[in-house]
């Protein structure tokens, strides 16, 4: 059995990912530096410094950062509550499955769920208006704009935090707490000196993952935002679907490349922190 024949076994896989993953990636990476006549140019990349694109990137980053931190804090709390239950208990099964759905299924469905809740004729909107006399949209309809995105994104970030942070929480052993106590440490000491430092890399790593998740999200925003393109994914959509910017066909690719760079940096940090965590997790 020669090595060359062995290699044949991975050819179908490599050909497939070559066509549908590597080529698209190269199309974006190379296309960002080409003009409409396929000549090399830096115009697309320098165009990223245009006011509206910079603003879109800033808004995307702020949106991702805010929802990542909110999601991380609340999700970690829920995760901690779950870890205190037995691993095969029904509560834990139900909550983790629900988290899986809400974290990854998201998109259009979540946008609709929020329209049904706090849209103009939503369940909560009508209840607050008719029963308590509170008009949540007194200052304008904010659901279909950036504040609405913060709310809906946080809604899918919390469950994602539970999923990615739970393994680290599971790795915490009760013996460590007992050891702290037998040495005379209080609950505060335990969290400040033992559990806190051990969980910190995993917590920060998970927060980074949440950031990347929000930064890459498209469907929710596409279904929710009706006017304008406040964030980068929506800017890419308008670059793809409209013919307004003649001579700038590859601007969308430059923005896409910008997104990849941001996500890649964040994921590299995440991988580093993940390695630190796995040192004591197993």
């Amino acid at each position: 059995m020669s090595r060359r024949r062995d290699l044949l076994g991975v050819v179908p896989f490599l050909v497939f990912v070559g066509i549908f993953l590597i080529i698209p990636t190269l199309v974006v990476a190379i296309g960002a530096f080409l003009d409409d006549q396929n000549r090399v140019t830096l115009d697309n990349v320098t165009a990223l410094a245009d006011g509206y694109i910079v603003q879109a990137f800033v808004r995307s980053i702020v949106l991702s950062a805010v929802t990542a931190v909110l999601g991380a804090v609340i999700g970690a709390l829920l995760g901690y509550a779950l870890v205190t239950a037995r691993p095969d208990s029904v509560v834990r099964r139900v909550v983790t499955s629900a988290c899986g759905v809400l974290a990854q299924f998201g998109g259009v469905t979540l946008a609709f769920a929020f329209m049904a809740t706090i849209g103009l004729s939503g369940f909560v909107t009508l209840f607050l208006r008719d029963s308590l006399g509170i008009d949540i949209f007194a200052g304008g309809v904010w659901l279909y704009d950036l504040p609405g995105l913060v709310l809906v994104y946080t809604y899918f970030q919390i469950p994602l935090m539970v999923i990615v942070f739970l393994p680290a929480l599971d790795g915490i052993r009760p013996q460590w707490r007992e050891a702290t106590e037998s040495l005379g440490g209080s609950t505060w000491h335990y969290w400040r000196r033992v559990a806190g430092p051990l969980l910190a890399p995993a917590f920060i790593g998970s927060t980074l993952l949440l950031f990347a998740n929000a930064f890459s999200a498209y469907a929710t925003a596409a279904a929710l935002v009706s006017q304008g393109s406040p964030i980068v994914p929506l800017q890419i959509r308008s670059a793809l679907t409209s013919e307004v910017l003649l001579g700038r066909e590859n601007l969308g690719k430059a923005m896409a490349l910008g997104m990849v760079v941001v996500v890649a940096v964040v994921m590299a940090l995440y991988a580093t922190l993940q390695r630190r965590t796995s040192r004591w997790l197993d």
Partner: protein, 275 residues
Amino acid sequence: MAGLVRRRARRQRVLRWVIVTVLSIVFLLPLVALLEFTTRGPGGTLTWDTWRELFDFQQLSETYPVLWTGMKASFWLVLLSVALTLVLLVPTVVWVRLRLPRLRRLVEFVCLLPLTIPAIVLVVGLAPVYAWVVYFVGGSSLTLTFAYTILALPFAYRAIDTGLSAIDVRTLAEAARSLGAGWATVMWRVVLPNIRSAVLSAAFLTVALVLGEFTIASLLNRDNVQVAINQLGKSSATISFAVSLAALVLAFVLLFLLSFAGGKRRRSRRERTTS
């Protein structure tokens, strides 16, 4: 000490129920709102008409042809994507473990790559590739299978890799080979039955992913259920809200069933390490 532990267990139980209850209410509210919205009749009455309509496929296909097309496309996309993901990934990962351990890092890197490439970026690069796909196999919505298989790679790879780490593939394969089994037999009758729950979880994750996918289908102008409900959302919100809720519940049931398969795997691994 025992009293302290008991007191803490009680305090943790109270804390657990408070947090889980509060967050459950917050998280169920939008879903309850979907249900309330779809059962809202004229003049504040309760009606199940929308739901009756949703499950009467004959009528549904006549009233909402767009939705019906999308649902059918998603149904076939689920089957095709699961099939392609498993056919492509399982033999490759097993083969690499058995015969080409040096390629393991490369395959892992490639499989996890889609995590760093957002779907909205992938679709930008896929557009020209799909021009060729249309040229060779046509413009059917089912061609999305190729893109969905890429999106499913990281999740499916992790599931299968975890499953394979729990068994000693090499020894099993060598034993089967020395008894005269061909590679097909090794794969089908020796390796596969041992990683059944891992394959199952890879399949379930792919199903959930395909059911919820919107970005690529929408920007490549193909049909699936998410594109359809987004289109219908403006004209007939009630039915698209009902489909949304039904899809969420379906995905939840799938993942809940999956949690049992995963649990069995974890338990059996622990037994192995202690024995």
